[in-house]
Point group: none
Chain length 199, copies 4
Amino acid sequence: MPRSATDLKPRILAEARRLLVTEGHGALSTRRIAREVGCTAPSIYLYFANKDALVHALVDEGFQLLRAHLEAAHAEAAARPGRSVEALCQAYADFALANPEYYEVMFHLGPAELSRYPKERYRVQRAVLDLIGRAALGPGAGPERTLRTATLIWSSLHGAISLHLAHRIDKSVRGPELLADAVRVAVQAARLEPTLRTE
Amino acid sequence: MPRSATDLKPRILAEARRLLVTEGHGALSTRRIAREVGCTAPSIYLYFANKDALVHALVDEGFQLLRAHLEAAHAEAAARPGRSVEALCQAYADFALANPEYYEVMFHLGPAELSRYPKERYRVQRAVLDLIGRAALGPGAGPERTLRTATLIWSSLHGAISLHLAHRIDKSVRGPELLADAVRVAVQAARLEPTLRTE
Amino acid sequence: MPRSATDLKPRILAEARRLLVTEGHGALSTRRIAREVGCTAPSIYLYFANKDALVHALVDEGFQLLRAHLEAAHAEAAARPGRSVEALCQAYADFALANPEYYEVMFHLGPAELSRYPKERYRVQRAVLDLIGRAALGPGAGPERTLRTATLIWSSLHGAISLHLAHRIDKSVRGPELLADAVRVAVQAARLEPTLRTE
Amino acid sequence: MPRSATDLKPRILAEARRLLVTEGHGALSTRRIAREVGCTAPSIYLYFANKDALVHALVDEGFQLLRAHLEAAHAEAAARPGRSVEALCQAYADFALANPEYYEVMFHLGPAELSRYPKERYRVQRAVLDLIGRAALGPGAGPERTLRTATLIWSSLHGAISLHLAHRIDKSVRGPELLADAVRVAVQAARLEPTLRTE
DNA sequence: CATGAATGAGCGTTCATTCAT
DNA sequence: GATGAATGAACGCTCATTCAT
């Protein structure tokens, strides 16, 4: 049963996301959202307890989308065993580049905002890591090692992505190429990982 | 250069750094700094032209320290050729862990704040990358390839470091170990890099 | 258009006018207005986009009132042709003396504040001048000469009025008498004007 | 015995005057003056008790200059009796146009600043009026009538001048011509004055 | 004679939020 | 379900001024 076409909640979220990415964190104000959406600022409080809750909703959205994106890639890659890590990594990078707004709000929350964010919701983040870890090591590996390997892969990806999104990378280094390389390094990381400590 | 017993400038910088890291970018206000330091807000303008200049000074400080740190490591490692990449990467990671406030300040500026940062000053960041790149490939490599490789190594390191500093990594994955692994992955990345595209 | 019992907008305007006249341009601050009116400073921004807009509203009000006053006088004087300049001049002086706050606000804006005033609105000032000019010369005179004559009359009136309102005139010279004389001089000015240059 | 070439007092006054006219009343701040003069703000307090005193010094300067200017014109015009009013009026207008900075600060002080200005100093203003009045009526006229006539002439001049300096006059009315006309009207005013009331 | 350090007051403005309607 | 009015707190910043040196 769809609500009225003017139902504000999704439009508020959409506008908040748009402002966040196109004008930066500093432009995300309730009044600004309201003006852009065509309602008044207090209306936002009909759908969100406060501004924090709005941002948290954005973060939630982001994690749900990321998980869905990775699960789709995972299912698709099931046919080609032995390659699913590549597929997942590429899917992760694709998501980040396609949705920089989500990625930024998901991972650029400072300690203050983060501490106000209900930890329980971060289980989705764990689920994503499990997905990567199992793709890299198979279901047989112990949970701790799975997590460690997944985290290592994730670090490699996240590094390139976050530097890229923050425009910290020299123009002469093409961003997409760097990301593709980072995916390959992440994959190698998974393979090398057992040997890293013994070297 | 004032030399009152309570010399404010360094205390302002230190407090700004602390606020930025422990309470996030939104808590960095001139009034807050002043309150915490024990002076009045206008006093800040005796030492910094405006808030931007204060933040830029913070970033500059960080890059200068990092460069000094890496150059020291570089000089020290000159004796053991062939190992200088490891040494530099480890030095980079050490710096980040030893000075988390500086590291966060340097890389948590978003594009919005960054756009007001005089580009000329980013030469220090380039210098750091050059150092890493030449350690990895030797002085013979072309500048473009040197930069690309250095950026790849840097990404790998930065990913692990920034996730670690942001407390995004599961407690069961020990941070220092992850970083050590990330260093090794970064080094491998440098070696693998030529083969990455052709594989 | 708000209709609360304490409708702030007119009270803000009135207080702004009062401050501007009794304490000078330097005392006109949003906070001061708010304190005097009994609201908070941000409330002002519910009715005016910014301080400039508030001042412009003040000037506009003044010019509208002046025009209405002069048009009424003009209509009334239509019956006695040949005397309408006197009537208009006297009406002008009457307005200034009866509404010193408005008059001062209209003409005490310096070039700096004036430069931010949308020029389009000055058409009211022109309309007032046209009224005076046509009363002096009749509808047959060319627009340029009409404007020149009107400006000369206006200058004469304005000089006496503004010195009077600024309390620059010695107490032994009775203000109203001076103004009445100034009106007569202004009228003579209109009659003499053609001969002024050739004399 | 001339002070050192860097004697600050005159330079402060000169800079204050310059700021007042080129950037308006709002730009006249102690810090700004100091920066422009090349000293520090507290240095100003070595020569002026406070900012008010500085402005008053400017006003004084202005009135002294105006009086000197008019007295010179008066002396020069002594040879051509019957024409000295014209000469004085023209000298007055010339002074205002040549020194708009002085004229503005002399006559654009708001009631707040004016009330703090020692009235005693306004005797110079009276002296100027006397000069004009006696030129118009000769030394035989009673002091009251002399003052009244002088004030009327002054009003006429001041009206045109202040509108001109405030840029309130339409571009198509050439300022100097308007002022020349105003001088003639003022002179006529003096001649008409006896007849004004009897009409 | 002049300064560097510092301040208290105030500026225009924006913020998230409340609440009666 | 949504609004208009209003607010307290804070923002970055400039002001005139003081005072020990």
